[in-house]
Symmetry: D3
Subunit: 250 residues, 6 copies
């Protein structure tokens, strides 16, 4: 049995509370088991230098943890004077994932800033951040539509993320809590869209390995979890997002 009594293909309890902070254009608190992340989306009317004059938008993400989001206190990255490699990886992942379901041309010369701040951590903070950030982004675009800044919602598909892993005792499992994550040899984060297409697969043996059969089981568990997460998103966003064929942004 898993520490919290879940079946191996069972997600933790997930809540997404919209309009959590009053100032951002889009804001949610996503809760996945004991993991809690504030996801804020801000729209800025300009793009980074490398995109100027190209009539397309950009999405960039930042991720941080409060020092006591974890059992032991972490040094604040602002005190450290630099962002760790782990944080950079996560920020790049969130940004790439969101850009894959957005029509950047339709966004116009605007930057969408996503801030994911983990206030309580119990495993899966990067995948919870992606799922929460997707909803915050959709809410921000909804507000931009209402303010007539944009003519049409620039989102092409739903998007969600979860983690899977191979536990030495339980075998392949879905949505690892921290205790599971730290005893699991193989750990994989999967991001998918509403068409069952992969956006990102990041599987690492973390000093162990996995074979082709285990890979197949992990991918199948992830697909089930992502289907359920997208249903939760739909319950909040209603008919805001209309699925379209996802081309490329290049």
């Amino acid at each position: 049995m898993r520490p919290d009594g879940r079946a191996s293909d069972e997600l933790r309890s997930v809540q997404i509370q919209p309009d959590f902070i009053i100032h951002p254009e889009g804001s949610v608190l996503i809760t996945v088991g004991k993991t809690k992340v504030i996801c804020n989306a801000s729209i800025e009317d300009r793009v980074p230098p490398f995109l100027r004059g190209q009539k397309k938008g950009w999405i960039t993400a930042e991720y941080a943890m409060l020092p006591r989001a974890t059992p032991d206190r972490n040094i604040r990255e602002s005190s450290r004077g630099k962002v760790t490699g782990r944080t950079m990886e996560i920020q790049r992942l969130i940004g790439r994932a969101l850009r894959s379901v957005v029509d950047l041309d339709r966004l116009g010369e605007r930057t969408l800033w996503i801030d994911c701040d983990v206030i309580q951590a119990d495993g899966g903070t990067r995948t919870a951040s992606i799922t929460g950030a997707f909803v915050a982004m959709a809410l921000a675009f909804k507000k931009a539509l209402e303010r007539k800044q944009i003519a049409k919602l620039p989102i092409k598909s739903y998007l969600a993320a979860t983690s899977v892993g191979v536990h030495p005792v339980h075998g392949p499992i879905l949505d690892l809590c921290y205790k599971e994550d730290s005893t699991t040899d193989v750990d994989m984060n999967i991001v998918m869209n509403g068409h069952d297409e992969y956006i990102e697969i990041q599987g690492t043996g973390e000093e162990a390995t996995f074979n082709e059969k285990e890979l197949a089981t992990l991918l199948s568990l992830a697909k089930k979890g992502i289907h359920e997460l997208i249903e939760i998103e739909k319950a909040i966003l209603g008919d805001l997002v209309i699925e379209q064929k996802v081309g490329t942004n290049k």
Copy 2:
């Protein structure tokens, strides 16, 4: 009339929610009007180098704002690579204020870390941080008592903080919200203990000035607000803190 209809000597609505985050030894969410700050207290079993071997403890505070705690998005200090002067001033203020009511000898060779993270800002974030941090600290010490790490609560008095200012129209007012703060010429932060003693007075004309009579009114408004805040603290902490004569830590 003030923007939110308050009388000039009226605090905003204040809530202090204990045990907000599960991991820290002490944790509260303090809400003052629309200002919300997570205050976490952590106990570490060692002291900074300059205190080693002196058999006394230390208290240090860190303060940060989420980028969208404010109407416009702020650059994250970890991305900026350094902490701003404003943040440093606030951190030093919170630390000094807490140390003034703690018997550091009784704490033993331990460091109490206070993390104040503003998730939503509407003026008065530094004074809300001090008031919230005091409660988080008391809860952390309570846990240390229960775990028998310390023999007696090392707190010598209650502590709270508020802001006062001279508004060009309303004159002297208590507990400024952001809109008031930005139109007020003179701005003062007051920290007091449960014996009506001053811990800190920081009054600045911010390019204006104030005379002796205005100063007297401001100090009187602050005392009233701090009395009310200490009542709210007492409602949470019960008879945990016993007021004692406050000596000096030097």
Copy 3:
């Protein structure tokens, strides 16, 4: 008796030597007892980005100590790679204080840079810096008048600063030297203008407290000291500064 035999309401010997360094528009060496600070004022024909196009000026201050201004050698902030929190607090204080007596509109789109470099320290370096910086600023504006860069001196009032404190033996005292400062529980810096108005009150118990009666005595001592400092400024500046009603710069 105080270590240097002064009465409790007596300033140390103060000299302000104008035109100390040849290059700056305004330059003084201020000596307060054994504390010596070089204050240089530079006028730059542009303003920081946040003020561009507003037809008003700005004043910004930097403060530093030579490594051996103190009995023990301090690490140079340029070697450390960053400015300490203490330095930032002092720089912000000096800038705010000077701006409170200057008509920034009359200055035009110019920045006045103040550099306060402590070459020898014996307590009170931040208040000596403010008093010296005021004179350096006035000399720089005088030169700008002579060069017809500005039409009228943009200074609205005199300005000076001093420290007061509660000594465990001597009680409330004026103008603390280092030895007194380090044995004093309560320490307060006061900045006032030529109309007996407060610009800044920074009183901190530094882990101790002070009551209302002590506060009243401290404020009265500070007023006496500032009157004397302004007389010394007037002896140098003659009839250059004409006192006007001090409005606000906002």
Copy 4:
């Protein structure tokens, strides 16, 4: 046809030149098409603080590009004052990959430093770095064996890495050169060991997506390429590495 006339499942020409630099314990120049990486392995007789006293070793990797390894000159990371997110991701990937095939207990309290310096880039620098680093590491361990620092080679399996992608015209292809990489929607880096087990799968749509069928083809292309790379490694290392069952290092 691909720009250099290769079949879709064909690697570029690969050479690994051992003993390229005289000072390191292990050193190779790996050439993959026009991509050239110097991989140096250094053995240090101590471990990072988090591992002290645990009688096991550690492997850490650093990666850099000469400024003109690429068609346009890049800013040197030492001038920039910090390492980019991309570099950090690659360094962490190389370290994890190597640790997955090494018995860290058998290494003893030693750190193996891997330095991968790209002197000429034409796509696939991170996978070439992993393959080259594996050989440099094996040569360093061989020297440590000869010097009797270690009793037995601590390598449990061969290791190699390659890239695969979905090209809009050619479909799934193996070992992308820069021109292909920049026109390819989907890009995946695969690291495998000598038992056909996955060490790492990093597949990203880079703002596009891929489906289950494409994933299967990509994994199969990668396996073919990695088989060929391991043959090249064996030609250099001879019977130095003996394949063993790969457990976990946790």
Copy 5:
């Protein structure tokens, strides 16, 4: 006898391999004994801010060592977060030396970037860098001529550099290898042009001293070595560089 059997006035074996890296406008690998430096020259179509609008060009140099260019591994400057004083000195020296033989007006508003990356070090890396950089620069200008970016080669004279020193046993010697350099009291780097004129003399006792007679011998050894180095440059560059009277760039 010197460690490698050379006479006291004998250079080590020197090779300069042109077109070493494919991307830069000019690229060489210079080998001096066991010292190997990749020198790349890049032409950028703009100048630093301080030169804009002056219709003249600029030359700037960067220098780095691979961590294992040396017997012990050095910390990478990008990890350290800053460039050491030694590196800065060398970079400034290389830039000054090259600028002394180039007509910056003829270069037009362009920056020539020189990157010297030491892949293997055995003494004399800074002088090898200058000699190699000169050839890389000439090759880059040749390409700019061919592309008709410039009308005439902006080089006014040949340029080469070497080191000399006073060895406690062998006395004055030419072109020190690392072993000699570390046992030599006095160490001097000399840069000269093709007219036997000095560009730079950097002689330091490194905690020892030298007298006038030793200085004369050292200068004479250096001249002999530089003559030989310029012959090697001429063998590569043919009649590309035509010696002219060297004026000043000021």
Copy 6:
């Protein structure tokens, strides 16, 4: 005629004021024409890590300019967050020069810190710093003798420095002021000891060149200037320094 009417072999007026700052073990203000440098020497009872346990001392120097030491205001290096290449070169030069005349064994496991702070600059700040630092160092050692920290003065010889240059109109000249320095093609800093031995020769064409004859004249001018500077040092230090044969510290 030179701008200040000097002959080509004439030093500017030089004063060295001992005991300028009260706290350091040794302190002077050196004035060379309009150049003024505060040189402070501090003795610390420990050595840098690389020297621990070797029973010998170390000398390290730091150099800085006040922002308005120059006609235009320079950015403070502490605000910039790093020390410039120019500053690093000068610091290394001062340290090397002083170490060349000190018996580091006799100093014991102590570090002598030299701080040279230029308060007013008019050319020649690095050579004035060396000359002033020598006297400050001697005074600090004198105090250490008096306190019986050391048994014998560890100085082996006098030391002084000056600059020489080739002016386009006046030809070779001694001790350049700023105006001369900025119009001079060739610029050379010479450090010598009391035995007419060279400690350091730093001659740079700064984009120009100089020939053997010019070099000979420059060296002769420098020797004359250094003789005069050492006379000034002797007038202050009396018979404190006894010239000995200068060996090497290696």
